[in-house]
């Protein structure tokens, strides 16, 4: 009961139809996502986890935060969110390119932001 991991009768990858990776690798833990069109319904076959995820992204949030609030493993949340981007339910905001580094402008902005805090 007091464990940090909340187990489920459904194994994680049943929720993702056996896939261990997203359809596209643009959704990472720091990807910001938001609902694309609040009125667009999910198909009746959508899992509860997909519905929860879509509801969680009613406003702007990172994938990691949504996964943590819903207690979904990060990789599972990533696959489900990626599907929801593909189906036009979620929009992903820009992300630092894979294997890239933030550019100088971004780094300077981070530095300025931190200096305002100190």
């Amino acid at each position: 009961m007091s464990g940090e991991y909340h187990d489920s009768a459904v194994r994680p990858y049943v929720l993702t139809q056996g896939r261990a990776r997203p359809t596209r690798n643009t959704v990472g833990l720091d990807t910001l996502l938001v609902v694309a069109d609040a009125g667009k319904p999910l198909p009746p076959s959508a899992t509860r986890q997909a519905r929860d995820l879509l509801r969680m992204f009613g406003r702007l949030l990172s994938l990691a935060e949504a996964a943590a609030h819903l207690r979904l493993p990060l990789s599972v949340a990533g696959i489900l969110a990626s599907d929801l981007v593909d189906s036009g339910h979620l929009i992903a905001r820009s992300r630092i390119p894979e294997a890239g580094r933030p550019d100088l402008t971004t780094l300077q902005e981070v530095l300025n932001g931190l200096r305002r805090l100190s």
């Binding site: 940090e4 991991y5 994680p12 261990a20 990472g28 833990l29 720091d30 990807t31 910001l32 938001v34 406003r59 702007l60 949030l61 990172s62 990691a64 935060e65 996964a67 943590a68 609030h69 493993p73 990060l74 990789s75 905001r93 820009s94 992300r95 630092i96 390119p97 894979e98 294997a99 890239g100 580094r101 933030p102 550019d103 100088l104 971004t106 780094l107 300077q108 902005e109 981070v110 530095l111 300025n112 932001g113 931190l114 200096r115 305002r116 805090l117 100190s118």
Partner: protein, 198 residues
Amino acid sequence: MGSAGSADRYLPDTVQQAVKILVVGDFGVGKTTMIGAVSEIEPLRTEETMTQASVGVDDLAGLDGKTTTTVAMDFGRITLSPYTALYLFGTPGQRRFWDLWAGLGEGAVGALVLVDTRRIEGSFEVLDQLELRGDLPFAVAVNHFPDSTRHSPQALREALDLEPGTPIVNCDARSRSSSVDALIALVKHALATQKGPS
């Protein structure tokens, strides 16, 4: 679940990009303390499942020779400007978690390595690995515990065998301003690295 209203959890709609910094170190070195000190949200915990080829534990690992490890990561957030949010991910430093870094490090500003001077040897491996990778700017923050002896940065630099360009700062992970200063040292280093020599 936290009692804070769910309205508080969201980012301002003006935010266009997220950046991340890894806070790396062994268990108990103060990663979550530091993240909690600077985060604008209550630190959150997420779990990632790692599947890895098992080395030396084949007898226990089952027939496919792979083990699955669940890694818990604590993280926090600072909205730095109307456009940019910074995420801080606490990342375990031990060798068996290095596979995790490949994904986490992508697009990251860099890594802040937290060091406990009472257990300095716990930091050698992680520093070696970061130097070997060479693709992730990093700085060292020495977290001072009440019963830890103060060493000069120069003595610690030598003890940790750091490259000359690697910043090393003292910090108190419980203090917001001290932790912010350590993050600033890392970002300045990342900027200098990005600009290149000269």
